[in-house]
Symmetry: C2
Subunit: 407 residues, 2 copies
Amino acid sequence: MQINFNRLKKDIDELGRIGRDPKGGITRPSFSKADLEARAWLKEKIQEAGLSCRVDGAGNIFGRLGEGQGKTIMVGSHIDTVINGGMFDGSVGVLSGLECLRRIQEEGYRLRKPLELASFTDEEGNLVGDFLGSRAFVGELDKELLEKGLTAFGRPLKEILAGTEFTIEGILEAHKSRPEIEAYLELHIEQGPVLETEDVPIGIVDLITGKHYRWCSYIGNASHSGTTPLELRQDAFLGLADFALKSTQYVATKHYGSMVTIGKVNVMPGAFSVVPGQADFSFEFRSGSKETMSVLESELFSLAEDIASTRGLAFVSRIIDKTEPVKIPPRLINLLQEECRKLGHPFMPVTSGAGHDAQILASKADAAMIFIPSPDGISHSPQETIRWEDLEKGANLLLQALLQLAS
Amino acid sequence: MQINFNRLKKDIDELGRIGRDPKGGITRPSFSKADLEARAWLKEKIQEAGLSCRVDGAGNIFGRLGEGQGKTIMVGSHIDTVINGGMFDGSVGVLSGLECLRRIQEEGYRLRKPLELASFTDEEGNLVGDFLGSRAFVGELDKELLEKGLTAFGRPLKEILAGTEFTIEGILEAHKSRPEIEAYLELHIEQGPVLETEDVPIGIVDLITGKHYRWCSYIGNASHSGTTPLELRQDAFLGLADFALKSTQYVATKHYGSMVTIGKVNVMPGAFSVVPGQADFSFEFRSGSKETMSVLESELFSLAEDIASTRGLAFVSRIIDKTEPVKIPPRLINLLQEECRKLGHPFMPVTSGAGHDAQILASKADAAMIFIPSPDGISHSPQETIRWEDLEKGANLLLQALLQLAS
């Protein structure tokens, strides 16, 4: 059995026309007008495929095949995008899963276990933290965050939900309708350069790294830059600059392979002639090892404090998000390798530096991921693309793996 | 002869009530509604004092005493403020000058040379660069800057002038009505901590430092912070952090007493999970020596380029403002010292790290400045203050110096 590749390609093209942004790429955050249109389109496709369609309280969309007694084999990803994102991140996973279930249904293939497609809400974290949908699905959401957290659009979640059929209460109860899941598979673009550099069409993920996000501030004293001697300043920005360089050097030299990033910076009051009195910034680090995550947390924040005290500044921070690294179970890695060998496609092990719904599902099921190359490593950008022949290989591997798991 | 201190204090209190900002301090940028009110108030005071009042095309306000043939002895400062500024920066100079001329007029004192009070427009540079008024007065303004430059309020100057009697043409022609100036004196708050630390009520400025303002950018490549290894990144923010630390260290160790500051920073795209692709920032340096300014310019920008090439980034910059350092002529320093000795007030030489209209006037006349202490060094802030007894000493010194110069 093989997927119908032209049909899959046509689906991806169709979905990729919903939410086109005049400023480039696709802007389709969950519960936006474009997302509601995409949801309606996906539900119709699921029904056309003869799958039983269900939407839970968090807006996660499911398409189920088979009424067997066993635990469910799930395949999924997401159809929301970042602002000015690409048309492949997430969508290729949902639509490849749809195509797999559609082919199995068409062939009338008898399965021992039910198969279910999942499209998870707000994987991209445009609302309140990443993975709203999959976190709701496993029942790991915090009521206070949903009620008080501000979305990336500066409005509370409640206000954004007001235009939809969803509610905070519904999101918090979504996990109650979850079937028991035995295994979860997700096909995704790599979002990095490794597979393309190695010229290998399939990556079998062995590890999804953990991440730790904080919003931090150095606080000093704003003063006149013409009259305050360098040695008397409490320059909050220089504290940040020092921390940026030292934390990067520390991770690069002591924890090769881990990541540290300062992506967003606000310097106040922010003018010529004024020594910065406060510097706010996003700070994140990632690692594939739980132990390393915990060493990084203690070492990096103690470095931040040391710099503050050396420079006469205060350092404060609050946690924004934290996910643990997830090791993919060997039985799923072996199964994917075996099926890939049978198909004759080259493959290699890869680590996922980005977070994925699979990471969240891992607390309730065995979860695994298949990556296909991201040309030039580009993602979260209008320039994001794929090579269609890679997707065809990846989707056929997904199909074979699902058949194995459900048989 | 002495100033009428209670009258001066009353004037400062009255002017300090115009432009009170609900967010703190005074917001009275030139040509704002508050500034127009302050201008009307000042013109009335000048007329009440029996001085001949004149306003030039740049909105500089003058009060003239005496019709003698000699070159004019001028005393001045400014009444505009930064946003949420204090009530003493500038105002104490204009109103002390007014008080001096008013006393001389009252006494019917015969002068050999005309005396003129000046209140210069937009010393604070809320419009298009610092010192609009004094630059117009000496004829050193660029037509293109006035026509194309954006003001701090994001609107073109022309639009701001539309609500007033002033025009760009008028500003450019203001210098044509300038009398010949022999000497210019300005009393100002120190805006720094030196006089207070040394517990000396009078500073006689020996030098006004030069400054160089640029708007700069490091340009790299935005990429996913979870999937781009540290060694493959072109992180524009790390370039800026490196430049901030190295440029500060270079100036602190090789050019002690000079200043370097990064006050405003924009990092783009500016989000968790994204390695910064571009970092824009204000960069300024200051020195009392022309030679040092030129060494700093060449060394600092070559450092900026070196960091760019080491880190695989591009560095670009454009000049925003540049003023040369000004040495105060010894004859005025000697005269101020002599009068201060006669009055019995302690004094010390000080360098002005901030820019002042006196610096601009220096190209057309001998220019000197008297500083009084700024408690805690605070200025450009609602917390800016003075000790009234220091002002009384400074204003009496100003009076004696003007009498000497005009006799």
